[in-house]
């Protein structure tokens, strides 16, 4: 444990950008977990008398057209957005790895089948495909998760396939076979742990996309429904008020969205360094 901590500190010390990304990530996770207790107001409580106040010490980010506190809503939305992104990425990571590893390991018709399947998904404009899936399956948060998972699946499958096929003929795979391991065990214990570093980068990049995707779907009115606090809806609702000068309605949730995506993109490098055994000493 101490060794892991030391390694973590080393990776952090080597790259200040990673420190920044990890702190930002910690902040986002903190808001997601403890948002309801931190938020100064109830994110859903309306107070029409107090509507469209500009940012002040009472309302850091101002209030919206129904008098709800924008700051509280931005914080409350973190949990929903992060939740959607995490579940979607976890799903596509799981299935993408399974499909990609089988394709890379066995090759032949399995490879061709899975390859064409992911090509088919990628042939559609991904956002339009996600819209179609949510529209067809119904307007719920779960369906946003499924849609986001499906459109990201091919990326995981491809990375996993490439990394697996490189390692399929590695000496330690042959050695494991000599030690009496069957194919499934080799995949699970020998190959999968070794393809984790590149997959981690993919996960981190994908988290950003998944958040954007969820927000984008909500922005056009699919998925999360008002009055739930969600960055995409808040931007969509706030966009109407920008012309009349109430810029804070759209800017702050937009900023939160941007910071989250930015954070996950920076996180990739640091994560890879953490899970790469070559850098452990």
């Amino acid at each position: 444990m101490e060794r892991h901590l030391k390694h973590f500190c080393y990776v952090m010390g080597e790259n200040p950008v990673t420190v920044f990304a990890f702190s930002l990530f910690a902040l986002i996770v903190f808001f997601a977990l403890f948002g309801p207790w931190i938020a100064p107001y109830d994110p859903l409580a309306t107070n029409v008398a107090n509507a469209l106040q500009s940012p002040s010490w009472h309302h850091l980010f101002g209030t919206d057209q129904l008098g709800r506190d924008v700051f509280s809503r931005v914080i409350a939305a973190t949990r929903l957005d992060l939740g959607i992104a995490t579940s979607a990425v976890a799903l596509s990571f799981l299935f993408g790895c399974a499909l990609g590893c089988s394709a890379g390991f066995w090759g032949g018709w399995i490879d061709r089948l899975i390859g064409r399947f992911s090509d088919t998904i990628m042939a559609f404009p991904l956002f339009v495909l996600a819209m179609g899936i949510v529209a067809a399956m119904g307007n719920t948060v779960e369906n946003i998760i499924y849609a986001t998972a499906i459109i990201n699946l091919p990326f995981y499958a491809r990375v996993a396939r490439a990394e697996t096929s490189v390692r399929r003929q590695a000496g330690y795979v042959h050695a494991a076979r000599l030690c009496g391991s069957g194919n499934i065990r080799i995949l699970a214990t020998q190959i999968f742990p070794n393809i984790l570093p590149p997959m981690m980068v993919q996960v981190s990049l994908n988290m950003g996309w998944a958040i954007l995707n969820a927000a984008g779907l909500s922005f056009i009115g699919l998925g999360v429904r008002p009055p739930d606090a969600e960055w995409g809806i808040m931007v969509a609702e706030g966009a109407n008020y920008i012309i009349s000068g109430e810029w804070w309605l759209a800017i702050f949730p937009g900023l939160a969205l941007m910071l989250a995506v930015f954070c996950f993109n920076l996180l990739g490098d640091g994560l890879r360094d953490l899970v790469d055994p070559q850098r452990r000493t």
């Binding site: 080393y10 590695a170 000496g171 330690y172 042959h174 050695a175 494991a176 076979r177 000599l178 030690c179 009496g180 391991s181 069957g182 194919n183 065990r185 020998q190 742990p193 070794n194 055994p277 070559q278 452990r280 000493t281």
Partner: protein, 578 residues
């Protein structure tokens, strides 16, 4: 004679900044090189021989920098010189041949253009004449049909041809100093001889100074005038080649010379040091008294054939151009048969592509043969497909030690986990403390310090990794151990110790070995019988001594002649004068 030496390195020290603090790679290295001289830098991996050469040409890693001392090339100081000065020196004045020819060439650019690039960069050819000059260079390094090869990509050429292209690039600007960093590792012995002869011919013709970095004393003896021996970043001995082998001064040099297997050395002579002491009571293996007659066959290979499909060209897809079926497959192993007695060791010798690795992979049942049988311990094991052989009880009986000790260990498993793997899977051991004690016994048996067991492969040295590989292979007491070039990635002194270890294990546990190697000298030390393979066929087989002393097949003769030797006493390079 020139009063000032051509290349003069004075008390040069280089340090590297790493995560674990500053590491001094070379310390107080002093060496001189005269014009037209061939200087060998000999040492084992990590001795700092490459760092010395790289600091001369200014190609050190960002983390490394010379901290004291100086290097001057023909009066020009190169340590601390500006990047632009160095860039002009590199290529035109000092040139380099790299260790891995394939990695040193740009894979997506035709080789001819790569030579042309160098010529144009240094202004030695006009754009109109560059192509002709590049073709001329390809011809000079004896590439057949240089006009056609001009447009070839590196992947279309063999390793030896890639290295020739590397030489052509290095020599295209007529440099005055050539640094060759292990130019023939990874090449077959006959290719090695051809490559080195070519380098010698071309450099002698141009009166070029050469620094040859090598771990192979035999090669240094054959191609160098003077040798610098390095150990742990320091120069321990500098001597003319004849003096070095007849009268080595430093103990490290003596150890190195002793560890290099020559045509008449025996296993016990190789490393009289550490390992030998532990089993000196056991007499050195004498093959003659242990006659294999009457012992039971442990393995019989009967007319084994393996064919691989050739990648189809566009032409062969058209029905009217498709000729016979034979043209679409490649026979890697072509009808070979042999047998192996219990406790016997058999050498399988040949150059790369001769089918020896394919044969060993089929015997270990990692691959299915096209036809033929492998009868192991009275049972035809080819009837079980390779896919499911891992679940058969016979799996325990045939184990393998792999060529590359790094590649064969899972980077995420500690040494302990690697050795424990067959115990868990094949023996079904579950109790952790039982596994731990068994692994520790195995580690002791192969001479691996027990406190290293919790390290990961990248924290172990090459020799230690090789021991982990051997411990894993003998963990389940196999009857037959297939050794696929187990020492080719190791330093000579480590190789000597590993060979002795293998010999001791064989005598203690009565295992049979199939020893796959390209190095006849090494095979002779460990094996009673040897099989020489060429292009998938057995060209010669017999007792190791007989094949080695009186090879009957011309291919075997060429193979033996190509091994560079040094004679411990007397003049070291009879060929060089001739």
């Amino acid at each position: 004679m020139n009063p000032a030496p051509f290349l003069d390195i004075k008390q040069l020290s280089v340090e590297f900044q790493t995560r674990n603090g500053v590491i001094r790679a070379i310390e107080d290295v002093t060496l001189q090189l005269a014009k037209g001289e061939v200087l060998g830098i000999v040492g084992e991996s990590g001795s700092g021989k490459s760092v010395t050469a790289y600091s001369v040409i200014g190609l050190l890693d960002n983390a490394g920098s010379p901290v004291s001392g100086s290097a001057t090339f023909d009066g020009i100081p190169v340590t601390g010189a500006s990047e632009s000065t160095l860039r002009d020196l590199r290529g035109r004045e000092i040139s380099m041949i790299f260790q891995n020819p394939r990695a040193a060439l740009n894979p997506i650019r035709p080789v001819g253009l790569q030579i042309q690039d160098v010529l144009l960069r240094h202004g030695l050819a006009a754009p109109q004449t560059a192509k002709a000059k590049a073709i001329e260079m390809l011809g000079k390094v004896k590439i057949v049909n240089p006009e056609r090869r001009f447009g070839s990509y590196p992947y279309e050429l063999s390793g030896g041809m890639c290295q020739r292209v590397g030489i052509a690039i290095a020599l295209s600007c007529d440099p005055r100093l050539l640094i060759a960093d292990e130019p023939t590792t990874g090449l077959d012995v006959t290719t090695q001889k051809a490559t080195m002869d070519l380098i010698r011919a071309l450099t002698e013709e141009r009166h070029m100074a050469v620094v040859l970095i090598t771990h192979d004393l035999g090669m240094a003896a054959k191609y160098c005038d003077r040798v610098v021996v390095m150990e742990k970043g320091r120069v321990v001995e500098t001597a003319r080649i004849e003096a070095l082998f007849s009268d080595p001064q430093h103990s490290y040099t003596k150890k190195l010379i002793a560890a290099s297997p020559g045509p008449c050395s025996t296993l016990a002579e190789l490393a009289p040091g550490d390992e030998a002491r532990s089993f000196s009571s056991v007499a050195p293996s004498s093959h003659s008294e242990e006659t294999a007659v009457g012992r039971k066959n442990v393995l019989e290979v009967v007319s084994l054939v393996k064919e691989f499909p050739l990648p189809r060209t566009i032409g062969s897809l058209l029905p009217w151009t498709r000729n016979s079926e034979e043209a679409s497959t490649f026979r890697a192993v072509d009808d070979i048969s042999f047998e192996l007695k219990r406790g016997e060791s058999l050498g399988l010798v040949g150059e790369s592509g001769c089918g020896k690795s394919t044969t060993s992979t089929i015997i270990t049942r990692l691959m299915d043969p096209t036809s033929g049988d492998v009868i192991f311990d009275g049972q035809n094991i080819t009837t079980y497909p390779a896919e499911t052989f891992a679940q058969r009880p016979e799996r325990q009986k045939i184990q393998m030690v792999f060529q590359d000790p790094t590649d064969c260990l899972n980077p995420r498993y500690s040494a302990h986990d690697c050795i424990a793997e067959p115990l868990k899977r094949l023996r079904g051991l579950r109790n952790r403390s039982e596994i731990r004690s068994k692994v520790e016994t195995l580690a002791k048996r192969v001479g691996l310090p027990v406190d290293l067991l919790d390290r990961f492969p990248h924290q172990l040295s090459g020799g230690q990794k090789a021991r982990v590989g051997i411990a894993r292979a003998i963990a389940v007491d196999p009857l037959l151990l297939v050794l696929d070039e187990p020492t080719s990635a190791l330093d000579v002194s480590v190789q000597a110790v590993v060979l002795q270890l293998l010999d001791r294990l064989k005598r203690e546990f009565g295992m049979s070995y199939i020893f796959v190697s390209h190095d006849l000298n090494v095979v002779r030390l460990l094996c009673e019988r040897v099989i020489v393979m060429d292009r998938g066929r057995i060209v010669e087989s017999g007792l190791a001594e007989d094949v080695f002393r009186r090879p009957s097949d011309p291919y075997t003769q060429r193979l033996i002649e190509a091994i560079p030797h040094f004679e411990p006493i007397g003049s070291g390079r009879p060929e060089a004068e001739g």
